[in-house]
């Protein structure tokens, strides 16, 4: 079982859209996929029309008082299950802190699912915290959406340092998200930076209203807009994230 965490320190950069759409594409590709919505806001859970709560409270899973399997919900899409968000996750740092080996807890929770799934996608809340350390321990790949600004390189470097600070180091891959090619700075960064950095994906995800439509349609973009540019971009990002190869240097 491979695990892919979609993570950034900042909020509103397209983490949930990326997690939902990549999880959907993985399932469509035949991978038995589980999406864990770790964000107490529960946006991914909302997209899949699942009630944002874990029976008995999410802390029971974190504290190992409830098997994780019992909280999983099937989505409407074959091969894609969801571990829904729970509002108690807003206190996840405290929950984790109360456990033994607090930085490994999420990893341990996922271990029993190794036979059931080929891929786990973690939709992470924005923060640098004990949850983030757990995510680093649990993930094989850390996929980080970056808004193309002058500070984005700094954000990626900060993430790199953060990954270096832990013993288990997932592969870090940044990608540009919410790209507006009408802006010169966006164009320049998207065209130039991936050529200079190996830890930056060649695929960028455009800022498009069709992606915002996910919350209205309550479905992944490739499902309700299979021919859209956004779908094509996520389809290109998926193999890059899974294999870590630079496939295509063309921007969106």
């Amino acid at each position: 079982m491979k695990s892919l965490a979609v993570y950034n320190i900042k909020g509103g950069v397209g983490k949930t859209s990326t997690a939902v759409n990549l999880a959907y594409l993985a399932a469509r590709d035949g991978q038995r996929t589980l999406l864990w919505d770790l964000d107490p806001q529960g946006a991914a859970t909302y997209v899949f029309r699942v009630k944002p709560r874990v029976k008995g409270g999410g802390e029971r899973i974190v504290a190992n008082r409830k098997p994780v399997e019992a909280a999983i919900k099937g989505t409407d899409f074959d091969g894609l299950d969801l571990l829904p968000a729970d509002f108690t996750y807003r206190h996840m740092d405290l929950m984790l802190d109360a456990t033994k080996r607090p930085t490994e807890r999420l990893h341990r929770i996922l271990e029993p699912l190794a036979g059931d799934y080929d891929l786990v996608v973690l939709d992470c809340p924005p923060s640098v915290s004990l949850v983030s350390e757990n995510v680093l321990r649990a993930a094989d790949v850390l996929l980080s959406p970056l808004i193309p600004t002058t500070l984005s390189v700094r954000t990626l470097d900060q993430l790199t340092d953060f990954v270096r600070s832990v013993r288990h180091r997932p592969r870090l891959l940044g990608f540009f998200s919410m790209v507006d090619r009408r802006k010169r700075l966006h164009r320049e960064l998207v065209d130039q930076l991936p050529k200079e950095r190996d830890d930056l994906a060649s695929t960028a995800i455009p800022a498009q209203s069709i992606i915002e439509q996910m919350a209205v349609q309550r479905a992944p973009v490739p499902h309700f807009a299979p021919q859209s540019i956004a779908t094509r971009c996520y389809q290109r990002l998926y193999p890059e994230a899974m294999a870590g190869r630079r496939l295509d240097l063309a921007g969106p």
Binding site: F48, R49, V50, K51, I72, D76, D81, R218
Partner: protein, 527 residues
């Protein structure tokens, strides 16, 4: 039956399922593409007996999918949701090695062994998918409703199949839907699934022998019963004949030859109950049929050994491919001979002529002993002949002599099988057990003898055209066969002793009635 599968009367309409659920839930309905199922099993129901159900589902010209469900065994867990594999393209029959390398083959291959999967029923499927939604418009339960129709020679409507599949985490909703459907519509009783229903409608009886055993009247005239027993064997011959001609798998020929041997044995043992002329004529005909098919069977056995499906240990023998190729060539010619013989005027006329003779025998009005008396006398005589022949057997006895002894054993075996319903069950079981043990041991000796002779001949032939490596491998095979011979002979004395023992003798005497005590029977020198 798959989890969540419920069968309803064939007259049940899919609309009734929709209406029953729609009264309580929001339900969306979507048509599914029409498909066909080919229901598969071996001729002797090996998948059914192993608790498995296999079908090839295909739509239009697209490639099909094999779907396997299975109950748990000691070694493997149950397959609750069918596991799938691409189908080999509706090219049935197919042996295990013809299936794609997949988990389906891994489970099916050990169960079917050397037998081929046959297409036993063809079903047309018109399906709908219902989605039961919650207040967020999220699917909680998928319900597939399949209208099934058996197609082919005996078209028939089959039960309506409803498959309730809750999404993960919504199992309680699935149970509620199932309960609702069971309340509102009337499910069929029993736990047979749609595949079993299709097979039954096609005239099959899964798990049952294709030619059912017969029950004889012990007081009926013996010729009438003998005719019934012999008719059953010709039924088997007629049943397996197409499988032999089509070369579906080696067991069709094996079953044909068993039936031929049984017929010849019973003709010999019951000769006084049949007209002399008919005995002479049909003994000749069945001898002809046995000889016609013997070379092909010998080659089948040899090839099965080389394919690792026999008793020979092939570890470390890598140079047998030329031998395999050579044997396959000979087998093609032997099969052509068998086909020509079975399709000849003589081959085609045999069954009808024999059946007509058997009908005349059954109708005969000559005075004759009762079935029980004749069966007992024949069993006693057969036992006596074996004991006499076995008396002189030792480590050095020539295989030909053991072969003759084996023939006597087989004759008694066919007698015990044919008249099983007449004999007392307990002694019958015990005598059969002792006889089988002796037969198996003699069979091992005989197989090794035939194999060694065959290998010697092959080594001579192949030494002229293939490398020394192949000849050396053949030599190694002969050595291994010799070791099996030594092992079989070591246990033979023990098996003979058991068969000749006072207790077996007493049980043979007790086949026709209350079992005499060992001491009494032994003292009386019975039979």
């Amino acid at each position: 039956m798959e989890p969540g599968e419920v069968l309803f009367n064939a007259a049940t309409d899919p609309g009734q399922v929709f209406a029953a659920l729609g009264d309580r839930y929001t339900v969306r309905i979507e048509p599914l593409p029409a498909t066909r199922w080919t229901c598969l099993d071996t001729a002797d129901w090996r998948l059914h007996d192993a608790g498995m159900s296999l079908r090839d589902a295909h739509a239009g010209r697209r490639g099909g999918t094999l779907l396997l469900s299975a109950g748990a065994t000691a070694a493997t867990p149950a397959i609750t949701t069918p596991i799938t594999a691409p189908s080999p393209g509706r090219r049935w029959p197919q042996r295990a090695e013809g299936l794609p390398d997949s988990p389906v083959r891994e489970r099916v291959a050990p169960a079917i062994g050397i037998r081929a999967l046959l297409p036993l029923a063809e079903v047309e499927v018109h399906g709908l998918q219902l989605r039961v939604l919650d207040d967020e418009d999220k699917t909680r339960v998928r319900i597939q409703v399949d209208q099934l129709r058996l197609v082919g020679a005996r078209p028939a409507a089959l039960p309506l199949r409803v498959l309730v599949s809750p999404l993960r985490g919504y199992e309680r909703d699935g149970r509620r839907c199932t309960d609702l459907l069971r309340d509102r519509l009337v499910p069929l009783a029993g736990d047979s699934d749609a595949t079993a229903a299709a097979l039954a409608a096609a005239g099959h009886r899964p798990g049952q022998p294709p030619v059912p055993p017969i029950r004889l009247d012990p007081d009926a005239p013996a010729p009438e019963s003998l005719a019934a027993v012999l008719r059953r064997w010709i039924d088997v011959i007629d049943l397996v004949r197409p499988g032999v001609l089509a070369d579906v798998d080696t067991e069709f020929l094996h079953d044909l030859r068993t039936s031929v041997r049984a017929t010849r044995s019973l003709l010999r043992l019951g000769a006084e109950l049949l007209p002399d002329a008919e005995v002479t004529r049909f003994a000749g005909e069945f001898t002809w049929l046995g000889r016609l098919t013997a070379p092909l069977r010998d080659l089948d056995v040899a090839l099965l050994e080389l394919d690792g499906l026999g008793a020979t240990d092939l570890t470390g023998l890598d140079d047998l491919e030329p031998l395999r190729r050579y044997l396959r060539g000979r087998r093609r010619r032997a099969l052509a001979n068998v086909r020509a013989g079975l399709d000849s005027e003589r081959g085609r006329a045999l069954s009808a002529a024999w059946r007509s003779t058997l009908s005349a025998v059954a109708r005969g009005d000559q005075p004759a002993p009762a079935t029980r008396a004749a069966a007992n006398a024949q069993a006693a005589a057969a036992y006596r002949r074996i004991v006499t022949a076995a008396a002189g057997v030792n480590d050095q006895t020539h295989p030909d002599e053991l072969h003759r002894l084996r023939g006597r054993c087989k004759r008694m075996r066919y007698l015990l099988d044919g008249y099983a319903s007449v004999y007392e069950p307990q002694p019958h079981r015990a005598v059969l057990g002792a006889l089988k043990a002796l037969q198996n041991c003699l069979g091992d000796v005989q197989d090794v003898f035939v194999q060694r002779a065959q290998l010697a001949e092959l080594a001579t032939t192949l030494s002229r055209r293939d490398g020394a490596a192949t000849v050396l491998a053949i030599g190694a095979l002969r050595e291994r066969a010799l070791r099996r011979d030594v092992e079989a002979r070591r246990t033979l004395a023990h098996k003979i002793e058991r068969f000749r023992s006072a207790s077996t003798r007493a049980r043979v005497a007790g086949l026709g009635g209350p079992v005499a005590t060992v001491a009494t029977a032994a003292a009386a020198g019975a039979p």
